[in-house]
């Protein structure tokens, strides 16, 4: 009996551990509808008449499927596969063709793939990701990222992430900059127009397209974005936690868009010209506080400066109120203010002596506000006892002092 008692070694935590293969954990669907009214479109160089119409609608859908498994060293492996499809209409896109007859809609497709390995015992994790995005005719983009993180003993976590985006911008110029090479047709009721994609169309006096000719392959130019991101999160006490995130972004290549016009003060138009390098330095702070038992304060501030002279401040406040432990309503408000980039001037203000110029109002001085509310439903056994575990609906109204107004409504469904 004594021998039996001494022969029993102490039981270890991992004695009964068995690795688990990757298994479906979560399906996440986000759908949004965005509706914008604006004038001063960048395609028409900030014109304020009907030709500067900047109205946009966008219907965006993203699906992410996540698989989780544990390997023989008790490390958690997470694999995520995503696919996004957006369809938009944009009034300004029609004016890439100076007659306003370009196609004014398009579809963007963006698949993603990411993998991460987390060692819960050591508090470390490592991840890799890839991203691809393409919009017919305009561009394609490839993204790669790698990240590492480490938790410390005092409830803090430090993360480092590197991201690279490698874009190719199709050099689609406004049609007045593409020479018409066709000789005029014999029928005087018909005439040739050049399309934004470099082809030509034979058009009748009523605007009917009689025939189309494809243009040559449109050349493209690269745009690279490299981002180094440092973040630190810290639990401050039982009710409060905060984080700091610093991004260092370096962009190079063709940083304008070839179909953005600029009108000189002489009335003559040209294409926007911007430097081939840009360094951005945003730093963001988050602080979340659990007030009492039902109210949470989510706050965010970002300071941003870049090498084009643009400086901005972003303030965001959200106040989720828990009506029940599984149902909350979250009103939010965001205020944003920026100075103009040193290359920006409105319609017909730039002079021909300037080296760099743009009339894109995203680079103008303005402030904007976004307000709205969201609801979140997450009962522990699912909604109506189904595999739908979380439902989130959010509406926001966005307005800029540049006369841009937008509404966005988003739905997030999580299935487990």
């Amino acid at each position: 009996m004594m021998v039996q008692a001494f022969s029993q070694g102490p039981a270890t935590d991992s004695s009964g551990y068995k690795p688990k293969k990757l298994k479906l954990d979560e399906i996440n669907l986000v759908s949004s509808y965005y509706d914008q009214t604006a004038n001063k479109s960048a395609v028409m160089g900030g014109r304020t008449d009907y030709k500067g119409n900047g109205d946009v609608t966008d219907f965006a859908n993203g699906l992410d499927v996540t698989f989780i498994g544990w390997d023989h060293k008790q490390r958690k492996n997470t694999l995520s596969v995503g696919l996004g499809i957006d369809h938009h209409t944009a009034a300004s896109q029609a004016y890439v063709d100076s007659n306003g007859t370009s196609k004014n809609d398009g579809t963007r497709i963006y698949p993603t793939l990411s993998w991460s390995r987390e060692n819960e015992l050591k508090g470390t994790s490592f991840g890799l990701g890839a991203y691809y995005s393409a919009e017919n005719n305009y561009y394609y983009s490839v993204g790669l990222n790698a990240s590492v993180s480490k938790k410390n003993k005092s409830n803090g976590e430090f993360s480092l992430k590197m991201v690279g985006y490698f874009d190719q911008i199709k050099m689609i110029y406004p049609t007045e900059f593409i020479p018409v090479t066709k000789t005029p047709p014999a029928d005087t009721t018909l005439h040739y127009i050049t399309t934004a994609s470099g082809g030509s169309e034979l058009v009748s006096s009523t605007g009917t397209v009689v025939s189309k000719t494809r243009g040559p392959e449109i050349p493209s130019r690269p745009r690279n974005t490299i981002t180094g991101s440092l973040s630190f999160t810290q639990i401050i006490n039982q009710r409060m936690q905060g984080s700091v995130e610093l991004d260092m972004v370096y962009q190079s290549g063709y940083l304008g868009l070839p179909f953005h016009r600029v009108f000189y003060n002489t009335g003559k138009d040209t294409i926007e010209s911007l430097p081939s390098q840009r360094f951005k330095l945003p730093i963001g702070f988050r602080l979340n506080y659990f007030l009492g038992d039902n109210i949470i304060l989510r706050s965010y501030y970002r300071f941003y400066a870049d090498s084009w002279g643009l400086v901005s401040h972003t303030f965001n406040l959200e106040l989720p109120v828990k009506i029940t432990p599984f149902f909350s309503i979250s009103p939010f408000y965001r205020f944003y203010i920026q100075t103009a980039a040193r290359y920006f001037a409105p319609y017909a203000v730039h002079t021909e002596q300037e080296q760099y110029f743009t009339s894109n109002y995203a680079l103008a001085a303005f402030n904007s506000s976004l307000f709205g509310a969201g609801v979140r439903l997450a009962p522990p056994r699912g909604i109506f006892a189904s595999s739908l575990r979380i439902l989130e609906l959010r509406y926001g109204h966005y307005s800029q002092t540049t006369d841009l107004n937008a509404n966005i409504i988003s739905l997030n469904l999580v299935f487990r």
């Binding site: 938009h88 440092l230 966005y398």
Partner: protein, 90 residues
Amino acid sequence: MIWFTLQKTFTLTKLDMKNYFLIRCCITAFAGLGISSCAHVKEYQKSRINDSEMSLSSRHVEKNELNAETYREGSSGANGGKTGGGCGCN
């Protein structure tokens, strides 16, 4: 290398000098938060901290909202959204 790129690409005007000071303050605050020690919170005391509404990141449902802001405004980054890439053509 990064600092050299910063110095090379930033032309420091009076306004930029003020921003340069702000950037240094932010970086100091970042380092300060990193080295400061906070009250130790045990696992069983984290019921409020672990609440999904307390997450220190943007919500999934905000994804397209952040995307729209990135292309309508001149600044981006430090918010979990994109820092570049893509067109923002429309």
